[in-house]
Symmetry: D3
Subunit: 274 residues, 6 copies
């Protein structure tokens, strides 16, 4: 919650600047309003807690009641939350609340579409680090509300050995060996492999997770067979919602795609004041 | 620059967390690398200065040379910048730099497409406040690099009288009157009008800018005729890159659309290390 | 409110440092007190909300009731607010609260004196950017409580073309032209003019506001005639409360003076504990 | 320096907001300028280091050379510092630099006037906690540049026993006793006395400093005789530059007055660009 | 309290990072728990307020009731506080609360042991600046809860003239003279003396406090005799809980030792949930 | 480095407060000094980079040259680093630099002692979350410099299922199951087991790591046999440097102990100025 509060505070500071000059000039301070957050289109909702945080930060007297939990589907015309309190406060928070809610719901919705496509193959969908700077914790949360799971949160919570690391270490074998020597027993090691040879080398050296990077379906299938359940198999690299099924059908257990965070479209939600 | 530095710092803190455990384990501290930021697809580039800020904050020794200025078009395969320095530092900044650069260039590119469409009608394109929380200053900058202009930066730098303000004030006339009484002589007043009656009322009361909100083309044309050059005419509400021309051809001088910031797709840029 | 909270927090941190060692040593933690904020001299009060924020930040249990709204006149001996709660908390906030209240009321009071002088001429009084670093938002608010209006809040919310910009652009004409090309349709352009030639040039190029900088009354009158109502006319530069009437009587619609923020004297207000 | 940097950063953020839109529109990024900070009137200069910090924070390439040290007198027409570098950076820092420099020099100048008046009596001048919120460290520094000394920086660096503490503790004796029991051996204890009886009591209980609060000259003289050099004697309460001599001539060793910080007038300094 | 809140907030951010993934996965959000903070060993308790701050920051609904005041002795098995509320919140704060409480109580306990040893000699125990970076205000508070007093809080609240200052000033005499000329009347001057000659010089020049640095007991006794009550006498330098009595018995009034903050052992306290 | 800079900045702000009044009074601003950081006792050094950061933050002109890398042993009398620059800056940073260096080296030294004891058993030493609030990243780094490894950095980077989680989930089986369903494929799951039954249950449910909590040596041996290499085996709970060998000899692969961070003694290092 501490992180969310910081993000919301910054967003409010950004939008309010030196204050809402229009409301101050035109809305008497004692005016109260009711408002409803209404879906204009369907989508998986994410961000209800952020919505509440926005108004709590602006004005503790504003009440927000929600009628849906994050992760559930909203339909066009549905009232997802009701806000009640000082009109100036509601208008001050409106845009910021919507900006968060629409974006997070957009991510949850798109994730959910991909999740449904690949579910028949027993495949999990994860995000990447291609998130919007400053909003990662909210965007990764939205991914889980869409039914996806989270890849690394940052450079600090798992070892992911890529091309450049392999070169610097002088091969996959020595890279995995060195990493294991340095890191604690609670950190997993993932190796990015571009060829079947690399897959084999990663496997032989005990990588916990092997990422098949930008492989064709046929090659992925071979890799899947080679690995079996000796490591978790992740497909990554240029996967879009359209190509996700191809990767899933190759038998990988995880696909990761930046698309769900960087190319989503916001769910259309509006605030209607009485 | 102070604002940009804050945004970049937060993004680095978010991604680095307690540190890049992979690089620390595998890349010797004394290793240097060269890298090139390459466009994978064409687009208008924006964010070169942010890119430089990312690396300067991580490591003052890393050199970044750029080969294109913001606002110019990059083509597939073009090297837009070259980075040279400590390998750990370059890898630590890679993802953050790309996340900014791709997003900002995506906004510039989409803006530019709309700008070109409506330019024949002498119409200007502006953004809205539907930006990503925390990144508004960068996104609005990217809009200008795509040839657009900026609408309000926040609730504090112009008066925009909407439906709720009009109700609270008891009509457009008294709303404009009250606003003018409160605000300084350097602040403009814009009124949102949904009908021709409202347009007339806004005009009669001396609004500097009249926003035609969600009007059909025919209605917009009538409004344009009514207003002439007695006020700046802005079309807004649900405009997409596809419907922008319709609004422009109705004769409005400005169209504002959230689409260019909230629904853009990032330009595909990568970092290649030697 | 977010900005005010930040400013108040910093002021409290500054004054409390590592804690109020006198109260901790001498006042039992369970002691409560009542106190009254009393005017020692008359003046326009500004800062009641800041006063409340000071105590709310220190101790949510301290109650503050105010008996006057900002913008109204306090007289010598008047109790403007009453504070009730933990004695240590009240003593901890006393000085900070008074420092804000006295300064803001001083600005409101001085502004009001100037406002009254120039009101007969239909002239408006505004502040400048010559405010105390870090307190601008509060000082500009105090100006409005004294009946004045606000000039630009910062370098970002209006274009003000001065001498150096004119030189760099190669003339007033090209300066206004370039500015208009870059800025959005909600930003006004003001041009600073030192001579009647410059006034004419600014007028011909469509400046929204023309600032007569350091002109003599006779010259101002000529400028006023020349401009008519084709632009807002502002007098600025070295105006003091004493010389304000001279400028106003020349027919300008706005006078801006740094004096009301940088050379005011605080209203004498004290806290008396029972 | 850390504190100064924070204060300067906040001031720049306050003034720049989302950026200097005028300079960005009109001054090419590659333009350089020379500028001179010139005194328009005489005064004791304070704030040269702050001036340098302003420009260093904005742009490390801007060079500032100063021709006077803090604490020395500037005369009308004197160039106190020269600035050289990117024109946009210089214009961006101009107002903030002047706001600091004028205020700090105003405090140093007024302090110096009082110092000179009371010097013949061997009396020292100190400030109070009646400083501008957020700027105390700079204002107290300016006082020393004017030849004054500093009273407490905050509630944490000396014990000052006032009326309310005495009541709560049940008398001066028990107040001093309790304070001494709690505080460390490096903290001094000052007692505020409004009557000669209180002076005697404070003296008998070993106060290190006795503050004669709002006493008439005659009473002060009696107090001075009573105390001798058994404690430092400070006069305080409603002292102005005009009444300072009266207190000093009564024989007190220190006078403290809020006037030098809260009611000073800024020294008139300008920046002239070539 | 403001400082404590900042320290606690940082500690929570440090421990929670992007959130408690275990509790989120396993504990339903609606689960409540009771918990007891139990001493596993005896010791002087310090940090009850910090404990409450930890949970208040995480979740205002969590109730904390304490059964002991800071500065009192806890025994093995004693319940010192009870916590009641949302299980996730309690688990999220557990470690941070204990880390503070154990450390602060460890300092209070060790301080108290030294205090008791030297009390018969009328000697006071103080801390030093050898505290844990970032926690000084809490550690110095814990010292007072153990019956000790505080030495300087930082470099800003008393003058302590050491070897290097003496050299730079050209002798103790000129060092004390210069210091007195610069500092205000509420600041004490302490001089560090390594020899009896230096003690004499410090004494002759009116030092308020003389620190006997790393002296043998016999030498300290001579110094004590020489100084009498013309200055406060402090023994410092390499004093441990074991050697404290030796210094105290030499007649010094204060001993200062870093050991009580840098080498304490935490009191063993645990949280037991029902 | 960003995190380290923040920590160092806070430590400097804490110690400097409003500035080093002694140095300002006594050391001319133009004085330079050389100084040497000397070990007074032997120990593993950690914190050289922090030392450099301290002085770089205070004054970029101060040069620090180090003669030992973190993780190596310093001996009594050894000069580990040399500092050269402005005397005031060196004195301002001295205490803060030493506070970090002594503490971090103390942790590295104690860790190293435990590492050496258990190395013959092929056992790894890790820290816990019982670190000093605010310094975790530095303390965990110091552990690695002593040859240890890091356990979780916070509540966010691995799942650790304890007693309370097991109860809430209704058993180890369902706890592990639920955790795996929620968390990503790069996060390990550790289960805390207090009995052999729990060990078996954890093993059967596929825990990646099993923590033997507060078990006797004999029980641990049974657990080790039961688990084999089907999971990583960690011993924890009340382990001290003295009892570490007992756990190691039972065959566990990891022992974690809070003692190395919360009960270390600082290495005695001093700064000597020429």
């Amino acid at each position: 919650m501490l992180l969310t509060e910081k993000i919301v505070r910054r967003a409010l500071e950004e939008d309010l600047g030196r204050g809402d000059i229009t409301s101050k000039a035109l809305i008497p301070d004692c005016t109260n309003s009711h408002g409803e957050f209404i879906c204009n289109s369907e989508g998986i909702i994410a961000g209800i807690e952020v919505l509440k945080t926005v108004f709590r930060m602006l004005d503790k007297q504003v009440e927000v009641d929600s009628f849906i939990d994050d992760g559930n589907a909203g339909y066009a015309g549905m009232c997802i939350a009701r806000v009640n309190g000082n009109t100036r406060s509601i208008l001050a928070g409106e845009r910021v609340a919507l900006n968060f809610l629409q974006r997070m719901s957009g991510i949850a919705t798109l994730t959910n579409q991909v999740v449904k496509k690949v579910a028949p193959y027993g495949c999990t969908v994860t995000d990447t680090r291609k998130t919007t700077p400053g909003l990662r914790v909210l965007e990764k949360y939205a991914v889980t509300m869409g039914g996806g799971k989270n890849h690394r949160f940052g450079l600090d919570d798992a070892v992911l050995i890529k091309d450049n690391h392999i070169k610097a270490a002088g091969g996959i074998g020595s890279a995995v060996f060195r990493a294991r020597k340095k890191i604690g027993h609670l950190v997993k090691i993932e190796v990015e492999a571009e060829t079947l040879e690399q897959v084999k080398e990663a496997l032989d050296n005990g990588a916990n997770v092997i990422m098949l990077d930008n492989m064709f379906a046929a090659e992925m299938k071979q890799a899947v067979e080679m690995i079996g359940n000796k490591a978790v198999i992740e497909a990554s690299g240029g996967i879009t919602p359209d190509t996700a099924v191809e990767a899933a059908s190759a038998g990988v257990s995880v696909i990761s795609l930046g698309w769900i965070t960087h190319s989503m479209q916001p769910v259309d939600i509006k605030l209607e004041l009485d």
